[in-house]
């Protein structure tokens, strides 16, 4: 011990950093901030450190070349000992980092910590969130597989919609005319040099400001922030009811950070690394690209927006959100901090959380995507064919062969883009069925050119059978008057 002490003293006589470090870790914080609610910032920092370490480790093997990246990931997964584990740690670390940063942001917002004098800390935090999302997207590109390839195509398609400079932005993003070697190289540079460099710089500023301005005190309902008096009140609070950060509050940060690292490792061991999925070969088109977890909500929004609103929403939406986040501390820099007296803040957070999780869940199911193999893979339920005429059975064949099944479910299997047709005969009359099949409409293509009259007759005869046993199919009441026999018109049996 004495040797260690001597070496330490020798070093510090030259470095002279022991005193400032002690001052930092032992600075007094309000006692009520020693809470489990205050651990997310430090946890984000620890996961970021994990990402730096595992990222460098992956860099020892990964090859940022469009021709070789995919096989170098296979090498990492299968040939390098524990390469799969490092990949899994990095992938799960990224998911955890986005989640923790979002939770941290939510907590800071609800606790009013963005108010005077911590406006700039919040603004830099917003930039850190954007960079974290940037790391998540560029990281998904470096996992150079089919999802990455077509994900870049989606990115380029969005970028191309920028007025006037769209084409130039696409060329700049891709580094050339197509998604290829230059594209991967520049996303590698962004993911490994540019964004992490900025992140490190801004994280240092963020932490420095937390230390200099002091951690936000626990918000008490009725304790109003005023620019003129806040600094004095905060100083008084830390003096009257303060305790040194280490160990009074820091032990909770330590426990939580270790717990998060353990959770990341557990996920990595249990679930393993993400992909890579198929080879990034653009001639393989039998693929259903999906973004990574944290962009799933965007995938949902892009398919649910009306087409005419899509481009404005894509180009203006993010700008509005970012400006609103940056302006927040200036619009409500004073006043009540406690969430108990800020119902709109609470509702906003709940609304965003519910919206994002709904969109994410929807994107997991993706009911808007046709099931490309349903027509050949999902048979028609047996009971729907029981007791059918030859014509109706022919109609069932047409139903399968013309890929109707890719968008329409029968007996809970098949696509969900269009309505399930188990009871379609109750909803639509014979004439309405024929019209819908031939002319399409309401998001359905017109099949008039692709069905012969005989096929249409057979198909509609089959569809007319699709009704619950106790319920008769819809009929056009007016037909009773105009037809001679007084019955509704049905295909001959």
């Amino acid at each position: 011990m004495r040797v260690i002490r001597t070496i330490g003293e020798w070093l510090d006589a030259r470095l002279q950093i022991a005193a400032p470090i002690r001052e930092v870790v032992e600075h007094p914080v309000p006692k009520n901030t020693a809470s489990w609610w205050y651990v997310f910032g430090s946890a984000a920092l620890v996961v970021f450190a994990l990402q730096l370490v595992t990222g460098i480790l992956l860099g020892l093997v990964y090859v940022p070349s469009a021709g070789d990246a995919w096989s170098s990931l296979q090498t990492l997964n299968h040939d390098v000992s524990l390469g799969w584990f490092i990949r899994a740690l990095h992938g799960w670390g990224s998911n955890f980092m986005v989640a923790i940063v979002l939770i941290h942001m939510m907590q800071v917002f609800l606790f009013g910590a963005y108010k005077f004098p911590r406006e700039l800390t919040w603004i830099i935090g917003v930039l850190l969130l954007l960079m974290t999302l940037g790391m998540a997207f560029t990281g998904q590109v470096l996992r150079f597989d089919q999802d990455a390839y077509w994900g870049l195509g989606i990115g380029a398609s969005i970028a191309s919609r920028v007025p006037v400079v769209g084409d130039a932005v696409v060329k700049l993003m891709l580094g050339g005319p197509i998604i290829a070697g230059a594209t991967l190289s520049r996303f590698f540079a962004l993911h490994v040099f540019v964004v992490p460099g900025l992140l490190i710089g801004f994280v240092c500023l963020h932490v420095l400001m937390v230390l200099k301005l002091g951690i936000n005190e626990w918000p008490m309902p009725g304790r109003i922030v005023k620019r003129a008096t806040y600094l004095g009140e905060y100083h008084e609070l830390t003096k009257r009811d303060g305790a040194p950060f280490l160990p009074y509050a820091a032990w909770k940060d330590a426990f939580f950070a270790a717990g998060v690292l353990l959770a990341v490792s557990a996920c990595a061991v249990y679930y393993g690394p993400f992909g890579p999925t198929g080879q990034p070969d653009p001639t393989i088109i039998q693929t259903v690209p999906k973004p990574d977890y944290f962009f799933l909500w965007l995938y949902a929004v892009l398919s649910l927006l009306p087409p005419s609103m899509e481009t404005p929403a894509l180009l203006i939406g993010p700008v509005v959100v970012i400006i609103a986040l940056l302006l927040l501390p200036f619009l409500s820099g004073e006043g009540e901090k406690s969430w108990r007296r800020r119902p709109i803040a609470v509702i906003t957070v709940l609304l965003i959380a519910v919206a994002l999780s709904t969109f994410t869940r929807l994107a997991e199911i993706a009911p808007w995507s046709p099931h490309m193999n349903a027509w050949s893979g999902d048979p028609i339920p047996q009971q729907m064919l029981k007791g059918t005429t030859a014509l109706e059975r022919q109609g069932a064949l047409v139903f399968q062969a013309k890929q109707c099944r890719n968008c329409h479910a029968l007996g809970d299997s098949g696509g969900e883009r269009g309505p399930a047709l188990d009871q379609v005969a109750v909803r639509l009359t014979l004439d309405q069925l024929i019209r819908q099949v031939i002319q399409g409409g309401g998001n359905m293509p017109a099949y008039g050119n692709n069905l012969s009259p005989a096929e249409t007759t057979a198909l509609v005869a089959f569809l007319q059978r699709l009704h619950p046993p106790g319920q008769s199919p819809a009929i056009d009441a007016s037909r009773r008057i105009v037809t001679d026999d007084g019955a509704d018109r049905r295909p001959a049996r």
Partner: protein, 190 residues
């Protein structure tokens, strides 16, 4: 003149030093910006498009739509398979062709052709197109991207080389199509 005498010799040198750095930084910025924007500049100067062949006309049966692949005309040694591109070739009859990009006009996912129903379907957001590439349903606001075509010596060639996107690139490609290249094979296109 009396004001100038207040500037010290070192102060003046410091100012000149800052100015000197500014001049050098500006001079350096020119090539750096040019380097970063090289892919834009090259696209403006020479363009990336050229005529590539998809094979003999007789390889494509009349009345059918087949997947064809070609190597992008502009490649780098590290591109690997990413420079291979797929497209849908529809032979209407004789020398009358339509060649569509596989990229959906919505957000660029690869569309698949279903000959039985005569539809192109996109797996991502459910866009659908008719056999002539026109929009059938779903989020796309337009039909499939179409390459300009030439038939020469019994071979079908298309004017390609850029990733088609709903923005400017596509307009460029369809502009040349609109200027007389639709359903090509006519001498006016050659």
């Amino acid at each position: 003149m009396s004001n100038e005498s207040q500037i010290s010799r070192r102060g003046l040198f410091m100012k000149i030093g800052i100015l000197f750095n500014g001049v050098v930084a500006t001079a350096l910025a020119v090539p750096i910006v040019q380097y970063v924007a090289s892919s834009i500049l090259r696209s403006r100067a020479n363009g990336y498009l050229s005529w590539v062949t998809l094979g003999r006309v007789s390889d494509f049966p009349e009345g059918e739509t087949r997947l064809a692949t070609f190597r992008n005309p502009y490649v780098m040694p590290t591109d690997g398979k990413t420079a291979d591109t797929a497209c849908w070739v529809r032979r209407i009859g004789g020398d009358e062709f339509q060649v569509f990009a596989v990229n959906c006009a919505h957000l660029g996912c690869p569309v698949r052709w279903f000959p039985q129903s005569g539809l192109f379907m996109c797996p991502c957001h459910g866009g659908a197109y008719y056999r002539d590439g026109s929009r059938a349903s779903g989020p796309p606001e337009r039909g499939l991207f179409e390459y300009p075509i030439k038939i020469q010596n019994g071979e079908i060639t298309i004017h390609a080389g850029e990733l088609p996107t709903p923005g400017a690139t596509a307009d460029k490609q369809s502009a040349s199509r609109d200027s007389g290249c639709r359903g090509c094979g006519k001498p006016s296109c050659a």
